[in-house]
Amino acid sequence: MPAAPPDSGPSRSVHLGDCLDPLAIHLSCEASWESARSDLAVLLGSDPVRFQGIRAHLDIGDRDIDLFELRRLAHALEADHGVLVVALRCSPRSVRRYAERELKLKVLAEEETASQIPAIEPPPAVPETPQPPVPETPPPEEAPEVVEASRVEPEPVEAPSLPEPEEPDTAASRVQVVHRTLRSGSSVRFNGDVVVFGDVHAGAQVTANGSVVILGSLLGLAHAGARGDDAAFVLALDLEPTQIRIGTRIAIPPQAPGGGPPRGAEIAFVREDRIVIEPYRGRLPSSSAQRSVE
């Protein structure tokens, strides 16, 4: 295939504005995040001198992006292309809040960059509700202490700087089904509930914004309510995780993996501010439905 001019190939997933400083970068929601990212790298790499040292306004539309991915992109743009992302335009509220608080980006209103961005489908309108001011609490300096969370009296642990609690509105309706055993090193991350038909081995990781159900044994790490939803739970037929996280809490089970006879299905959920593990008797934690997130 002949070398394409810089903006014909990637242009479906990436649009650059005409104004150079600040440069408007629009990543289309149609392409996958990875391809949009690599297309952007190609575009910027095609004329490194032109883009070196400029500031950019990033527009990701209504893409519900993993917050760490956003940070990774901003770092990569600065390190690889000398492009400093100073502002962000996007719809998902959690991303905006995170961008403002953690990445110190200016969050733009819809109109501010609209003139510089090629016409695209407007993202579905998300009703804007005013956010109550959240007090800034600097995360602890030291490593978070992961305390043993026994089946009887589990100890909660505060994880620092995890994403802010988010209303579990969108997560509830989505489910990802995983039809395989997750071996060490593999990970599943989903904005919704995750069901695994298989085991989750030590060294593997399941992260869900909703709840996690494992029809097999959990020996690795499961994180339910990854956006801070305390009502999420982790259910497994054999619950021996390396570590378990619900919302912003982190706990480890009391016994070393492999110890003792199998106990049958168990469920881990948050009760009175701590993660507890109980035998599963066909009933989900009753309080979890109406438990509100502070």
């Binding site: 760490f68 940070r71 990774r72 770092h75 995360p139 602890p140 300096e141 030291e142 490593a143 978070p144 992961v146 043993e148 994880a159 620092p160 700087s161 060490s184 090193g185 593999s186 990970s187 030590a202 060294g203 593997a204 990781q205 390396t242 570590q243 982190i250 480890i252 070393a256």
Partner: protein, 272 residues
């Protein structure tokens, strides 16, 4: 003055991670502030050997990518004052980190710690280049086997090419009785081939498997010969001279002491 030592071997399975864990603990036990850093991204093990796996929240890649601060990712060993682990990421690969990033990370660690030990992955690719990037010197681990020694020789060349000072050698899994009967390469044979200074000989022992499975490195067991060998390596690394090699001492009580150890009494309460 703080120092970064990379523990490497070329060949896999010769005991790099075990050596890193034990030397790190031994240095910490002698009062040094030590950070052990697992550079084996994607195949992390050091956390398991140290028994700290379930306390991992953040890892090296999170630090490098700015998702957390260095201090948040460092796991403090509760058994020994002064030992901290920076674990590797398990769900990423070696290319998630560059040598430049490692150099900066090690420089940052050296501000706080007396010793930074880097557990290098097997091989001579990106993982190796990352591991030697910030190192001040190297510790080469080998076993008395021709394949391990061949790889060690290659690695010594690469360490020299990376402009590190002459590396030191640890011979692991040494069996004095087999050497005496002529069935195993001797210390002299190995040193003749590799021609670098020897900093320790660790005797072969079954106990090391039990230590690894329990996440309790041998150094924590005062009865262990292997632990004693690593303690002496730590002393030599700190500049002590004229310490005899454990593996060459012919004490008749060696195996009986190992058997005594099998009872494994006191160490359990430290498990967390």
């Amino acid at each position: 003055m703080s120092e970064c030592i990379v523990i490497t071997s070329g060949k896999g399975g010769v005991g790099k991670t075990t050596a890193t864990a034990n030397v790190g603990l031994a240095l910490a036990m002698s009062g040094q502030r030590v950070a052990v850093l697992d550079a084996d991204i994607g195949l992390r093990n050091l956390d398991v050997i140290l028994g700290l796996e379930n306390r991992i929240v953040y890892d090296l890649v999170h630090v490098v990518e700015g998702e957390c601060r260095l201090k948040q990712a460092l796991i403090k060993d509760k058994r020994v004052e002064g030992l901290h682990l920076l674990p590797a990421a398990q769900t990423r690969d070696k290319n998630a980190v560059t040598p430049d990033q490692m150099r900066r990370l090690v420089a940052q660690l050296k501000e706080t710690f007396d010793y930074v030990l880097v557990d290098c992955p097997a091989g001579i690719e990106q993982g190796f280049r990352n591991s030697v990037a910030g190192a001040d010197r190297a510790l080469i681990v080998t076993t008395p086997e021709v394949s391990a020694i061949r790889d060690a020789d290659r690695i010594i060349g690469l360490v020299e090419a990376a402009e590190l000072p002459e590396p030191h050698l640890v011979i692991n899994r040494y069996r004095s009785n087999m050497v005496r009967s002529g069935d195993m390469l001797s210390r002299e044979d190995i040193l003749e081939i590799l021609a670098i200074p020897l900093v320790g000989i660790v005797p072969e022992s079954e106990e090391i498997i039990i230590h690894a499975n329990r996440g309790q490195p041998a150094v924590l067991d005062p009865e262990s010969k292997v632990g004693e060998a690593y303690r002496r390596i730590a002393r030599r690394l700190q500049g002590e001279k004229d310490i005899p090699f454990v593996a060459l001492e012919t004490s008749p009580g060696f195996w009986t002491s190992v058997k005594r150890w099998m009872g494994f009494g006191a160490a359990r309460e430290v498990a967390s």
